[in-house]
């Protein structure tokens, strides 16, 4: 009964790295330094480290749940909760991903409006992003993996921007270390959740990976890489800005791009935001795909139609979120839901599944 995907629609195991890395690094990374600095200051890098470790643990749980079942989340829900309740949970899961794509799209549109094109309407930006994302979704999981891989390749030039702040760093900003209480450091981790969510897409994408056992280690690498990136970026930002200023800067990562000075072009942040278009494409494409696939698996409706309808839906809803506060609220909601899902629901599934299996085994024996 677990779903089987034909081999020519599957991807090689090492693409797990790009899928997970691609969906985690999205729009959170552009502004997380401020939130973290406000809450915890210069010890924030410890928070990031702890969050990363937590995510690895959750990933392990996700793998276990999927492996034991052999299929994807819809199958798991059906098995544990029965057809109707399981279906409901799966629908909620799909809506969760739909919200994710909405958040990413709206936040990116806001960034473009603030930094580059104040007069450009939301419709144009969202249309471009949404339309492009849809062309990938319609190509299937393989083409989405392709764009994840390629956009990571395209965004490597952005790493040179990490070298330019170095003449201006003040190492004293990191000291004194361990300035805050361990409790504060750990509780600040909930601010980082928004930057790590996304790998739950594995719940639907698992059947699409060839040789899933080999693919596991790539997943762990991906979270490791994401964590390292966040820590590195955070440390450089802390060294570069004083704390009080950082609290007022809405998008520290983009501000850092302002320093990059290349001989043939100034104002690197415009290039950075353009390259960021490619970074968020895998996020939106994967989320849309996951949402429409969830619906397809539960209700058996054509995924293409669902995907188009969903794209239009988020296109329209995004229009009604106009102000900075609305967007902040949306991000906060997503962050809380994500936190609940990752740190609550996944362990719950894990525990429930092992109990149910143990019971089944015992019943089967007698």
């Amino acid at each position: 009964m677990p779903v089987k995907v034909p081999e020519n629609r599957q991807v090689s195991p090492y693409f797990m790295l790009f899928i997970i890395y691609g969906i985690q690094v999205g729009i959170g990374v552009l502004s997380y330094e401020r939130v973290l600095a406000e809450e915890i200051g210069n010890d924030g890098w410890i928070t990031i480290l702890i969050s990363g470790i937590l995510m690895e643990v959750i990933l392990w749980m996700v793998y276990r749940v999927l492996e034991k079942n052999g299929g994807d989340l819809i199958d798991i829900h059906k098995e544990l909760f029965g057809k109707w309740l399981g279906g409901l949970f799966s629908v909620i899961f799909s809506l969760y991903f739909l919200t994710m794509s909405l958040v990413v799209m709206r936040t990116y549109a806001e960034i473009v409006q603030v930094w580059m094109f104040p007069h450009l309407s939301y419709f144009a930006i969202a249309g471009m992003v949404g339309g492009t994302a849809y062309t990938f979704v319609s190509g299937g999981f393989r083409s989405i993996t392709g764009i994840s891989f390629l956009s990571i390749v395209y965004s490597t030039p952005l790493f040179i921007s990490l070298f330019f702040p170095l003449p201006y760093v003040h190492y004293e900003n990191l000291l004194p270390m361990f300035h805050h209480s361990p409790l504060a450091i750990i509780s600040a981790a909930h601010q980082m959740i928004l930057n790590f969510i996304g790998f739950e897409v594995l719940f639907l994408a698992y059947p699409f990976i060839k040789q899933p056992k080999k693919a596991k280690k790539w997943g762990y690498y991906a979270i490791y890489l994401t964590t390292m990136l966040y820590i590195l970026l955070f440390i450089i930002t802390i060294l570069y800005y004083p704390r009080r200023q950082l609290k007022g800067i809405l998008w520290p990562t983009i501000e850092i791009w302002k320093i990059v000075d290349l001989p043939f072009m100034e104002r690197f942040e415009y290039i950075g935001i353009t390259i960021w278009f490619f970074t968020i494409l895998p996020n939106i494409a994967l989320s849309l795909w996951a949402a429409s696939r969830g619906f397809k698996r539960v209700f058996n409706i054509n995924q293409r139609i669902t995907a188009i309808l969903m794209s239009i839906l988020i296109y329209v809803i995004g229009f009604f979120l106009n102000s900075r506060d609305d967007i902040d609220l949306l991000n906060a909601i997503l962050s809380n839901i994500g936190f609940g899902f990752l740190c609550g629901y996944v362990p719950f599934l894990f525990v429930l599944q092992s109990i149910v299996y143990k019971v089944k085994k015992r019943n089967g024996k007698t």
């Binding site: 144009a124 492009t132 062309t135 764009i147 390629l150 100034e266 104002r267 490619f278 494409l281």
Partner: protein
Amino acid sequence: MPAMLFRRKSKTNNNNNKNGHKLPSRAERAKSLSDFFSMMEESKDFVSSDHKLKHMTVRISYLNPMVDPKSIRRDILPYLISCDATKLEDLVHYLPFVSITHTKDVEQIKEKLLKGFILIQKHKEDPDGLLLELTAQHGRQVTPPEVEFSVIGPKTAFVESLDTNIALIRKLLPIPNFKVKEMSVGKVTKTKVAVIYIDGIANRENVNTLTQRLKDIEYDNIIDSSFLVQMLSDNKHSPFPQLVDTERPDRVVSALIEGKVAFILDGSPFVIMGPTTIMEFFTAFDDYALVWYLASFFRLVRLGSVAFSVFATPFYVAVLTYHYQLIPQDLIGTLISSRMGVPFPPIIEALLMELTIEVLREAGVRLPTKVGQTIGIVGGIVIGTASVQANLTSNVLLILIAMAALASFTTPNYKMNNTVRLLRFPFLIAAGFFGMIGIAAVFAILVAHLLKLTSLGRPYIEPFYPLRLSDLKDAFVRLPYSQQGQRPLLQRPVDSGRVNTWRANFKYDIDE
């Protein structure tokens, strides 16, 4: 009767007795043949005459222009006149031909007569004859390639005759595994097509796919292989060609050895090969003739110039229209003063210039050579300089567009050249409306399209995605021969080992 020419395939099969249907009777065949003859006799070039031999009479019919006249006088008539045959079958032994077809099949007679064979019957009404192949060779000699010229390397190119082309390839591949399978396509033109591959290297799937697709073609006029390319492509609406065409035998042979499948159309000097990747369209023969780092460098230059050609003008438009902040301090004076007074916004200016270049290009293709030089000078220099001085365009943009046009010609493949020319325009328009975000969006759509593209079922942008590191050795750069011990994975060759690299790279120790 016109109906005969457009008769559907199924009816033809019946006559060939394949499905066990009743053979048409002699009377039916005779009638069909005489109808055919009466139609042919309306054309002046159909020759049909009786000849009296020693013991019998024969009627010889042929289409005059298609047959070599000397051969009839020299190779047929003397032997016929002096032979002792009494029946049609015996004539076979007297005529100095290796293969003579003796057939009662009227459809085959009609087909071969039209292709230039000579028909020998006992008398006109008899639906039973001998067919001899004596077609005259009209066509050019083997000449150097025009499109894929190489500075060093053989200067042979294919011609229009299928047999000559196969001969050119056979010369380079003297192995029994080299298979040639023939079939015909096109309802009216009935053109011969040969599918060639190396058995034991090429993957059976590729061969079968190609053969099946050829069989499924429904069209009446197949004159050139480029028509076939469009019909055989996986995605008929893509601007990117999915099968690579070449006019060089050496390139075909290299491809076949790697495991590709190719087909040759009679009448077309281009051989089509597949499956292929996008990088194949940017490789030239000279890449393999130079030392590997030189070759890699030039290949990178080529790729860079294609990228420049597509993106330079859109970036200019985007930056000048929306993102003046990107321009370095020292350059901004030059750019502003060059644009001062130009009445159009940058997007219109760029579009006008691009269209002018396209007009120049199209005109240049069709001009007779004598006039070509003048137009080149007039178009390029006079129009360009004059429009800058008249302030209709800025000189910086002119430089960019001219260089972009020049850069796009570095593509060795003509079809890809056209694609690159076209690709510039969506980027340009997107840049004019949405600046850099527009360029990014169009680029993303382009990538999406390429990701979905397949060539004979194999991914088109391999080796980038799916990432095959071993195939990267011949994509962006060309690593030395000592590194290329395996055949590329794209074609899934049956036998992928190429050479024994250990033996090739073995080095003696110092002073050994």
